[in-house]
Amino acid sequence: MTRAHDPHGDLVSGGSGVGVLAPTRPPETPLARLRWAVVDGWTVTRRDLTHWIRSPEEVLGGLTFPVVSVLLFGYVLGSAMVVPGGGDYREFLMPGLFGMTMVFGMVITASAVVTDTSRGVTDRFRSMPMAPSAVVAGRSVADMIRAALDLTALLGCGLLVGWRAHGGVAAFLAAVGLLLLLRFALIWVGIYVGLLLRTPESATTLMTLVLPFAMIANTFVAPELMPSWLGVVAEVNPMSATVAATRELFGNPGLGGGSWLARNALLMAVVWPVALVAVFFPLSVRRFRDMSR
């Protein structure tokens, strides 16, 4: 068999159509390794983005629930809703829906991960000389791009129903940053959960577990209006910290609750995601390594 080696990785094909076309040695310098990690990660990201471009119904489907919630809660149930301290219910509602969309993103990550592992695509990646970090890095970047687009769509939706950010540009960016930080933390939860699941179908069941998590929070109703024990659960929910912090930054109504957690929402909106990453990043890495045990 004729083989030609080209250290730059471009095609040097033999006459028979067979020939080695890329370097057959792993990158040696740290810089070369970093370069391949970035290139490989981007290749995986492009693949994940292509999935969504090819099946836009999936992306739109993911946005259906928050958008329907705007109508359902904002208009149908809104008149019966009480915002502590007064204020427009739809102004109160939108930050909750922003947070909920970020939380639902966890299911997107988990289902993409389990689809790849159950179909053998993850094993194919693992049998290839690509950078081992690229599968996860590519996944994260794609998920963050999708989260940013979802959030943009929902912000537009909020503007349509009369929601406004009153806090200025810096506060607005900080609020968006906190929402994306929560989403980033949930990527690691999603990867871990995805590696635990066996079939892509089970990811659908996951949604029914995530839904109460998104509801038992300050999303739709202020925790102080819930039975006291449930109010505590809702306040401890990491999502509540992010939602309360974004309400504060957007200048939306509904701040309240005298608890320490409620008063320190901005701090907790950073602490919770960092804690989630600290727990689920090592768990995911270990689970991934366990695939070769």
Binding site: S16, G17, R54, R126
Partner: protein, 357 residues
């Protein structure tokens, strides 16, 4: 003493380094189950080695260890001269892997798959595009190049999977039950694809529980049972050393089968098998050349009318039963994986068939 120690620690002797795939004393346990129990294998460059064994014999575990997906608990293995544990990345540049389920992206097109995986093998964008086109042609996939694999037939998905494994024209290709669940026509397509690769010098390690598959493709067979290789040789060697020749006799009158079996017992190396519904008798014989004339003489002397008589090599199936005491893959029905080649129909897929990992 020296050799015993070498086997135990899984040392690899200098002369064996010519081999594309080499395993010494591989061991792997999953909890209580021992998947590999001192697994040895040597596959010279440019040959096709068939790894044959029943379900659960350790075939897939062996392939997963050799393709760097799984760490062995003990023993050593080298692929293309590189250690599968300590030099995994070098090994990965030199192997292709086609597992039990086609590991392709169902949403990207066939071409998109080849280009993406090409990029992950570190081909430049142009090179990846060119290689994708070459492979689409080589594997007869040009008609469906721009269709996503979820609309492919089972055979087409496997061929795309093979094409992806072959992007780097790797010196070593692992095929783990590449035709399980395919109908005969699609199986033939995959076989032809494999033959082309072998003609270009690729070394292939093929696991299967279809005996005709190794008979068709393999130069060398290793029979694996309970995590170790229990026999090896060419298909012919295995047939002649282990099975002996088989004498088939068909009688006019099934009622005389018993008498015929008795008469032929003198020639037999093992008890004859009688199949009354076919009026047929199969006798494993010791001496190939004299068996036929002897048989005719004995039967004539007993006054038994013979409709047909012939001598043949045993089938691998018979060899396998002799070696392992059980039938390969008893129970599994050979269901066609898919409906016709119809890109318009959302054809089902056979993914759920074999649990996988």
């Amino acid at each position: 003493m020296r050799t015993a120690a070498a086997t135990l620690t899984g040392e690899i002797a200098a002369g064996e380094r010519e081999c594309a795939v080499l395993a010494r004393g591989l061991r792997k346990r999953y909890g209580e189950t021992t998947a590999l129990d001192g697994f040895d294998l040597a596959v010279p460059y440019g040959t096709v080695c068939g790894l044959l064994g029943p379900n659960g014999a350790g075939k897939s575990t062996a392939v997963r260890v050799l393709s760097t997906l799984l760490r062995p608990d003990g023993g050593r293995a080298e692929v293309g001269g590189f250690d599968v544990v300590t030099q995994a990345r070098q090994v990965r540049y030199r192997i292709g892997l086609t597992g039990q389920n086609p590991a392709v992206d169902d949403v990207l097109t066939g071409r998109g798959n080849l280009e993406m995986f090409g990029r992950l093998y570190h081909l430049g964008p142009r090179a990846a595009r060119r290689r994708a086109q070459e492979l689409l042609e080589q594997f007869n996939l040009t008609d469906v190049a721009d269709t996503p694999p979820r609309r492919y037939s089972g055979g087409m998905r496997r061929r795309l999977d093979l094409a992806v494994s072959f992007i780097m024209a790797p010196p070593v290709l692992f095929l783990d039950e590449p035709t399980t669940g395919l109908d005969p026509r699609h199986r033939l397509e995959v076989w032809n694809g494999v033959r082309d690769l072998v003609a270009q010098g690729t070394t292939v390690l093929l696991t299967t529980h279809y005996l005709d598959e190794v008979d068709q493709l393999a130069d060398d067979i290793s029979v694996i049972d309970r995590g170790r290789v229990i026999a090896r040789g060419t298909p012919d060697e295995l047939k002649s050393t282990l099975g002996g020749d088989q004498l088939d006799v068909v009688l006019d009158d099934p009622a005389e089968l018993g008498r015929a079996a008795e008469a032929l017992a003198v020639l037999a190396g093992a008890p004859p098998r009688v199949r009354p519904e076919a009026s047929r008798l199969t006798v494993p014989v010791r001496e190939r050349v004299t068996a036929l004339t002897e048989a005719l003489r004995v039967l004539e002397a007993a006054g038994i009318a013979v409709r047909d008589i012939g001598i043949r090599r045993p089938t691998l199936d018979e060899v396998f039963v002799r070696l392992t005491g059980h039938h390969p893959e008893s129970g599994e029905t050979d269901t066609p994986a898919d409906t016709a080649v119809d890109p318009a129909a959302g054809a089902g897929d056979e993914d759920e068939r074999e649990g996988g990992r």
